[in-house]
């Protein structure tokens, strides 16, 4: 079953582009990554899902219900954590959490205590006395206290120290194990790689790739670097599948996708001193996507 269904979602702010024809589904129980550089349209998509903004055209549904029409109803089961959290400064943390809980028709006090303990959060302090990282923790507790079925995270880890990030990820994985679906938007690839099973890559308002993380890594370029006894003719590796060929003195490097034997045969014709063949990590894969598609 699809928890989120987005169809040709388009949003223009006046004449400037927000997102164009964004379509993807998030299935029940998965952790879905939503990746793109700043300004690509990640937040726009998420804000449309939460009916904070209204799309120009297209539609989005959560739990099979239209986001705009059934906004208040579906939000009962959504936990949202924005990248920058702002709360009523003069309130105490516990008052804010209770206020947040009062929107859901269930007793959340036990869960608040648990979460505050895990995140090491002092609930007696006033919001405006908190550091950025601690405010973020309030955001995390606030987003999870009603045990939502769908957790939407918009660049969630900024401001958290590595230890807290780890705790937060563990918490997310635990929620996921209990059945929660997670949509994680980020530009930090390592965290996406760690958590997500599938990703959508967005660039300049359009989805440019929708793929399983494992496939992304498999079906991809390998990085070759050669050290040779003599400088190489520039046309030597002019075969199908080779891109980004660079030659500098005795060194040459390129990316290759395709039958590995073809390129190895070519290499054996050379007198080489050393060779490195590496998998691209996700970072490079994405950089590659951005550059290529641009």
């Amino acid at each position: 079953m699809n928890i989120i269904e987005i169809k040709y979602l388009t949003k223009y702010y006046g004449k400037s582009r927000g997102i164009i024809d964004v379509s993807f589904n998030v299935e029940e129980g998965e952790i879905f990554g939503f990746i793109g550089p700043n300004g690509a349209g990640k937040s726009t998509t998420i804000r449309a899902l939460l009916s904070l903004i209204y799309p120009t055209s297209g539609s989005a549904a959560i739990f099979g219900k239209d986001c705009i029409k059934y906004g208040p109803e579906i939000k009962k089961e959504i936990g949202y954590l924005p990248s920058e959290v702002f709360y009523y400064d003069r309130m105490k943390v516990i008052d804010l959490l209770n206020y947040s809980a009062s929107f859901y028709k269930k007793d959340c006090s036990k869960r608040i205590r648990e979460l505050a303990e895990i995140m090491d959060l002092d609930v007696k302090k006033r919001i405006d006395d908190l550091s950025f990282g601690n405010k973020k923790k309030v955001g995390i507790v606030q987003g999870l206290l009603h045990e939502p079925k769908l957790i939407i995270l918009d660049e969630p880890t900024s401001g958290l120290d590595p230890l807290m990030q780890q705790k937060f990820f563990d918490l997310l994985l635990e929620e996921n194990k209990k059945g929660a679906t997670i949509l994680l938007s980020s530009h930090i690839l390592s965290e996406v790689q760690r958590l997500c099973s599938r990703v959508a890559i967005i660039k300049e308002g359009r989805i440019i790739k929708l793929e399983k993380i494992s496939t992304l890594k498999e079906d991809n370029y390998k990085k070759f670097k050669l050290e040779m006894k003599a400088p190489l003719d520039n046309d030597f590796f002019n075969i199908k599948g080779v891109v980004e060929f660079k030659s500098e003195g005795d060194f040459a490097s390129f990316l290759y996708k395709g039958n590995i034997n073809a390129v190895l045969k070519r290499i054996t014709e050379l007198e080489i001193a050393n060779i490195w063949i590496e998998e691209l990590d996700l970072e490079e894969i994405f950089l590659h996507y951005y550059e290529k598609e641009g």
């Binding site: 939460l50 904070l52 209204y54 579906i74 920058e84 959290v85 702002f86 009523y88």
Partner: protein, 265 residues
């Protein structure tokens, strides 16, 4: 209900300060009344020395000024001025502060419709203003009882005092509407002060030129205190204008708020 209580609490301090200031103002000036009324002749001479235009602009009516209710309605004009600022400030800020303080994301990702948010907040404004009014009327009533030297018309007193609430409703509705039409208000206080004083100055100006038509333009002129004292009733056309304006402003605000985009911070 939770939003209503939250708002009521968060405006508690402000409401308290406004109420305390207004009642202090009433108490102070009512205590001055005996000094005026004991020496009518001299005071009248003093005021007669003012040019007529100035007297009219200040709302000084020498025929009624020295009666208890006449004096009360004179100072009450300034109470409504302050009350209008309170109402406009609250009306303007109650929705716009969520955007300014960037808490809109928190509130609007909760399972609650915008209609309900608006209703709860409007009720919180209504309730805060009602509290201010009730306390002001009570204190004013007590003051009148304390300093009266003759009887006075209690109904007229209540009707004059109730105009505070009507004027506040109008300015609160205006404030809400302004906050909906102007997307990002940086300083609520300057907007409210500017608007209220604008209308108040128009009111003074209108007193000087004395044209009936201009009375419709400024809520401060909707209620003529001497008319109320004389006839024991409000003037229906102005009452209708006020009610229609409040309903229209609130309805328009609901529509605009429902369609508004909440942009990322």
């Amino acid at each position: 209900m939770n939003i209503f209580i939250h708002e009521l609490k968060s405006y508690g301090r402000t409401t308290f300060i406004w109420t305390a200031s207004l009642t202090a103002f009433i108490i102070m000036f009512m205590l001055v009344y005996p000094a005026f009324s004991n020496d009518v002749e001299n005071t009248r001479k003093l005021f007669e020395g003012f040019p007529e235009g100035v007297r009219k602009a200040l709302g000084l009516m020498l025929d009624s000024f020295f009666t208890l209710l006449g004096f009360y309605s004179y100072i009450f004009m300034y109470v409504t001025l302050c009350g209008a600022i309170q109402a406009m400030h609250m009306g303007t800020s109650i929705l716009s502060k969520e955007v300014r303080d960037k808490t809109a994301d928190f509130l609007m990702t909760k399972p609650v419709s915008r209609k309900k948010i608006m209703t709860s907040k409007l009720l919180a404004v209504l309730c805060s203003l009602a509290i201010t009014n009730i306390i002001c009327i009570l204190i004013a009533g007590v003051m009148l009882e304390v300093i009266k030297n003759t009887g006075y018309d209690v109904k007229a007193f209540l009707m004059i005092s109730a105009t505070l609430f009507f004027i506040q409703l109008i300015f609160a509705a205006l404030g809400v509407l302004v906050s909906m039409m102007v997307p990002a208000i940086k300083s609520v206080l300057s907007v409210s002060l500017g608007t209220v004083f604008g209308f108040f100055i128009l009111n003074m100006f209108d007193s000087v030129i004395d044209k009936e038509a201009i009375r419709y333009l400024t809520p401060f002129k909707f209620f003529d205190f001497s008319y109320i004292i004389k006839n024991g009733s409000y003037e229906t056309p102005f009452l209708i204008v006020g009610v229609v304006f409040v309903i229209a402003a609130v309805a328009a605000s609901y529509i605009i708020y429902g369609k508004r985009s909440i942009h990322a911070v």
